[in-house]
């Protein structure tokens, strides 16, 4: 027993730490899926907006003296508002065109945001302290001690993800949203303002990315490249899970984070690429994705 435990322990530990990355994959792929479902646009700028969330948190702290908790509310609002402006002025013009144009436009936006931040702050990265409330002894999980802030990330991400899932699947507003995804014209004919819903959806999706950015700020250094690194992995996550299902994208996000953690034990060199390898395998075995509809 003790020998088996000895084998199993690092596995469990890395898997649990993998949940931290998985939390970010889940929130980001959830946002992508929500935006794609409603707008039919793959938001390439999602990573840049995630990064922007982290930077806004840094700016709020260093320029306005607003700490972590304020940033957790304000940064998503600010970046989400920027998303609303982007949707109204640019993305809204593309709905009638091929989906690829939405991808190209948001790719351009990602370049603009990333380049601007690199000009303003350099590429080396800025420090963001772990908030006061989490400078406490690590949480004892029995098989490991988990730093309190990382524990918080996992918990809060679960709350946010399942909160979003609940809002979309179980509330009245969510039912309008799902109806508008299926039959926009019909829903519009019932007197529901579908364009406004699309704007709000994009804003909310972007705010979600910014929220993840604030969460990430104390863990990763705040730097202009952090978004690009994440978004490409999240694309792979989305291919694996399929964007058709909200719950699917959440679950896939966490699972892949955990698998990445496992890989760090057995074959650390592959931990950066394991998500892509899994994507390739899924494409071979089940081309529509794990939760995708054919």
């Amino acid at each position: 027993m003790s020998e088996l435990w000895y084998e199993l322990e690092p596995f469990l530990q890395q898997g649990t730490l993998g949940l931290v990355n998985g939390a970010f994959y889940a929130i980001l792929s959830l946002g992508l899926a929500v935006i794609f479902g409603m707008l039919n646009v793959v938001n390439f700028a999602h990573g840049a907006q995630f990064m922007l969330g982290a930077f806004v948190a840094w700016m709020l702290l260093n320029w306005a003296g607003i700490g972590y908790w304020g940033a957790l509310v304000l940064a998503p609002l600010i970046v989400g508002l920027l998303g609303v402006v982007i949707e109204r002025t640019m993305i809204a013009r593309l709905y009638k065109l091929d989906h690829l144009y939405g991808l190209l436009l948001t790719f351009g936006l990602a370049l603009i945001i990333e380049g601007t931040m690199r000009n303003a702050f350099g590429s080396s990265g800025l420090p963001y302290q772990v908030p006061e409330a989490f400078r406490i002894p690590p949480v004892d999980l029995g098989y490991m001690l988990m730093p309190a802030y990382r524990f918080w990330i996992v918990i809060v991400s679960l709350v946010v993800c399942f909160g979003t899932w609940y809002a979309i699947e179980k509330t009245k507003l969510g039912s309008y949203l799902r109806a508008a995804v299926e039959r926009p014209q019909l829903v519009q004919a019932f007197g529901i303002n579908v364009p406004l819903m699309m704007t709000a959806t994009y804003g909310a999706g972007v705010a979600l990315a910014a929220f993840a950015g604030v969460l990430a700020a104390p863990v990763y250094s705040v730097n202009p490249a952090m978004g690009a690194n994440f978004i490409i992995i999240v694309f792979a996550v989305v291919v694996i899970g399929g964007m058709g299902s909200i719950l699917g994208s959440i679950v896939t996000g966490y699972i892949l984070g955990v698998i990445e953690g496992f890989t760090r034990v057995y074959y650390p060199e592959a931990s950066a690429t394991v998500v892509f390898v899994i994507m390739a395998i899924v494409l071979l075995v089940r081309p529509t994705g794990l939760f995708g509809r054919a």
Partner: protein, 307 residues
């Protein structure tokens, strides 16, 4: 070849012939390498309707393998470039096979993710030299005879290679195979119902595109005598998209013009650092919102002749 395209080709050849006497040969060679890269990309996006967001993988691996073959294995430059092209072909076959299983947006995301896997591989693999890249790649002697060290000599080889690649792509697009590709682009279900195996056509287009991108990357490695992580990272994939979009998706000469503009822009703005990224982003957004036909596309529309 329609007269409009024949005239455009004559102008292109005249420009290539005159350019090294007016401009820096190395700068023109850079334009030609990227033009070939963008043309290869355009074969997919413009004529098969497939948006690959991962062409950096083929360009970059072509670049690395050519550099490695020339420096470590002592290959002559033409064999080194061939090695790079062959590597990209193999890679393109594997990735193309995976990517064509999904359509549209997913295709773009899959190609991007696979290319990023190649990037991470290159970061870790010892033969790439990590952050340093493969430096001081010898230009060697063509067929072991013609010394390519002088820029002026190398220029004509690169120019010939570019023209050969360009005409090859022209031939593909205007062959029966190319016609089927366009049919698949415009209405895949219909093409299938007519008895064409669309997956086979898409895969072959993908492999051809990857192969030529690899040759472009290999040539770039010989010209600049260096292969680095920049060649294989995602912004390089974005550049192929940008050049094609700006020049004109689905036009023969568009990617060449796009490459000329973007390479010139990068050279002029090099001193402003990250602003280059911002300006590229602005061009992307501007093109998508207001200039979707691109330079050559608009010209084509104005004269009502194919270019």
């Amino acid at each position: 070849m329609p007269r409009s395209q024949a005239i455009a080709l004559a102008l292109l050849v005249a420009f290539i012939a005159a350019a090294p006497f007016i401009l820096f040969p190395v700068y023109v060679m850079k334009v030609l390498c990227f033009a070939l890269y963008a043309c290869a990309f355009n074969l997919l996006l413009g004529y098969a309707g497939l948006l690959s967001f991962g062409h950096a993988a083929y360009f970059g691996m072509g670049s690395y393998l050519s550099a490695h073959a020339a420096k470590i294995w002592g290959f002559t430059p033409e064999l080194a470039i061939l090695t790079g092209g062959l590597t990209a072909t193999i890679l393109g076959t594997a990735f193309g096979y995976l990517a064509i299983r999904r359509q549209g947006i997913y295709f773009a995301m899959i190609t991007l993710a696979l290319a990023q896997m190649v990037y991470f591989f290159c970061v870790q693999a010892p033969f790439t030299g990590g952050e340093d890249g493969i430096q001081a790649v010898p230009r060697g002697a063509l067929l072991g005879v013609l010394d390519l060290a002088p820029d002026f000599t190398l220029y004509w080889v690169v120019a010939g290679l570019f023209l050969a690649g360009f005409l090859f792509l022209y031939r593909i697009v205007h062959s029966p195979f190319g016609q089927v590709l366009k049919a698949i682009r415009d209405n895949e279900a219909r093409a299938i119902s007519l008895g064409y195996r669309s997956d086979d056509y898409k895969l072959l287009a993908f492999v051809l595109s990857a192969a030529i991108a690899g040759i472009a990357g290999g040539t770039k490695a010989i010209v600049f005598q260096i292969a680095t992580l920049t060649d294989v990272n995602w912004p390089m994939s974005g550049e192929a998209v940008l050049m094609t979009l700006l020049g004109g998706i689905g036009t023969m000469f568009g990617p060449v013009v796009g490459a000329l503009i973007i390479v010139t822009l990068q050279a002029e703005l090099a001193q402003f650092g990250a602003w280059v990224t911002v300006i590229q982003g602005v061009i992307f957004v501007g093109c998508v919102l207001a200039f979707r036909r691109g330079v050559i596309g608009e010209l084509q529309q104005a004269i009502r002749r194919p270019l």
